[in-house]
Each structure stands twice: as structure tokens, then as C-alpha cells.
Symmetry: C2
Amino acid sequence: MWGRGLPRPSRKSQIMDAALACYAEQGYAATRLTTIAARAAVSEAAIYRHFSSIEELGAELYVQYFTLYATRLAEAIGTPGSALDRLRCVVRVSLALYREHPDAFLFGLEVLPAFIRRLPVGFDFPLEQLERVIRDGQSEGSVRAGQTNILAAMFLGALLRPIGLTRLAAPGALDLRADTSNDTLIEEAALALLRAPAR
Amino acid sequence: MWGRGLPRPSRKSQIMDAALACYAEQGYAATRLTTIAARAAVSEAAIYRHFSSIEELGAELYVQYFTLYATRLAEAIGTPGSALDRLRCVVRVSLALYREHPDAFLFGLEVLPAFIRRLPVGFDFPLEQLERVIRDGQSEGSVRAGQTNILAAMFLGALLRPIGLTRLAAPGALDLRADTSNDTLIEEAALALLRAPAR
């Protein structure tokens, strides 16, 4: 069915899944091609049939999931409602995407400037999307005054760092994948960061 | 003055400064030995006289500055006062250390599990230090109820992500080094995340 030398799509996705599993466990920087090959049960040559280098494999995955996250955020932010309601949706959508693609989400949390630069010109970054909702909330009077990129970064940091911690925490110390009982705490604390102080 | 083959201390610190500058610009994962050598104006062989590999160089720097941050946090957290006062000190000490060693601080913000594992057994992690203050605040009634590792991660994420953003933001969009006018905003928003809701 597949000609000689023609890459099989199934093998490509097998390599991509293996790479994500390695990144999630060891971090991107520490992951070697040989580890990915072993995990995918393919030869290193098979990886090079699909990707010109280990960086290209990383970049393709990073851009794919970063784009997916930005798309989901745009949907959350586009829902009708007050700024605080839409920010609450941001928290829910982020936890939902982590649960759907945990390895990819953890990889996307790594700040990799070389890959971020691969995103297309005009890409609507999560931070910029959040800044717009924050500005709406500031106009409404529901979000505290202040520089919007700082507030957006703080909100994103508060929301994403517990997810990143799941990778480092001792076994049993933090589960945000199966255990949803802390979702309300995360929502309330993240919103409290942005909410305008009562006068 | 220096014997043949004996490493000169000044050259070692020159290599370490150059490595930090490269990591801060490109991220750890994208930094090559040749780039560090060029920036330090030494040969690659000179680097190998001080470090057995590029990973050893990274690990030594990571452990050094992670330890420094943990020490400063312990001092901040050890100051007398309410839990919220001590958490305010955490924000101030973090911004101060970033301003003192900006490149090293940005490198320390990268989550590199392989290096984190190099820290000694019993190391008092920033997260664990924060959990203790949060527990104190929960006893006082000043900090919201909830799982302490989640709250500590959220506080740390809120505090550190704007600093990480300085590396990625467009020129002029975010300066937390020379410009201290946003320090109060960062303090207030980070504390609001943890403060117990008014009844």
C-alpha cells in the first residue's frame, strides 16, 4: 500500500506522540533523538524521513499545540458575558485542554523562544487575547487598573503554573487530570487576582 | 602566574556570564557550546577545561542561582509579621533578585527537571517555603482555604510570569528592570490571589 521511502502517516503520529511523552517526562532540552526513537519503537532513520532534525520535530509539535490553545482561548473569550465571565471560561478551557492532551499541554508550557518565533506573523497570542478581555473589564470597572500585559501574564502564570507543577510534584501530591475538585479554587483565586478591589 | 593547563578562575566566571547571557536570549535548549565560546571569547577547549560538558555548565549555573533564590526567599519569609506581610516580602525579594542578576533569574525560571534533580536532598524549594507561609495565613484566617501546593504554585506563577515575559515582549512593551512603577500592581494582584475573601 505504501511505496518505498514514502512516509506512513501512522508512523509520523507515533513519533509525535512518543516525542511529547518524552518532553513531558524529561523536558524538551533533555530529550534526545535516540530516546524518542526507542519510545516510538522506530529507527532514528525513520524519524529523519519525517523531520529534517530533532528541532523540526519539536517545532512542528509546539506550533500545532500552541495554535490549538490559542484557538480554544479565542472561543472562550468570544462567549457572550462580562469580562470576568469570559476570564472564568479561559480557566475552564485551559484545564479542559490539559486533560485532553496532557503531554502536549505540558510541552506548550515551556517557554521556547526559538519555537515561538515560528508562529505566523499576526498570530493572536494567548497573552494578547487576555489583554483585550482585561481592557474590557477595566472599562466595565470589574478588573483592577494597571498595565494589561502585566495583568495578563500574572493571570496566565497563576493558571498555568499549577498545571506545570503536576510534572514535578511528588507522586500523589498534585493531580489536576483526574481530580477536578480543585477547579473552583483555581478559578476563584485566578479571578481574585484581576478583580477590581471593592471601594 | 597560572600554570599550564590550570584553569584561571576569571575565565571560568567569564564563561558562566556568557552562558547566562546566551540562555537569557535564546533559552537554554537552543544554546550551543560554540555560541557560548564565541560570546566569552574563549575556545571550546577552554570551556571543557572547566566543565565536562555543556550540561554540566548549565547544571552548575542552575543549582547556584536556584539556591541563591531559595536562600533569599527564606530570609523574606523569616521576617516577623503576618503571613500577608511575609508574602509581600516574597514579591519584593523576587523582583530585587531579578534586577540584581537578570540573566540568571530568567534562566532559573526555565523548568528543567534534569537540573532540578541535581539539588541536594532536603533542599528547601521555593514552593515548599511558600506553602508554609500559606498554611500560617490559613490558620490566621488571612489566606483563602484550599490545597497549599496549588495556591503556592499560583502565587509563584503570578509573580514570575511577568518577569519571564520581559524576555519575549516587544521592545519597550515591558520593562521590570529599570522601571519599578509596576511593583505595587504586582504586589497587590499577587496578594489578592491569596487573600481570604471578605465574609
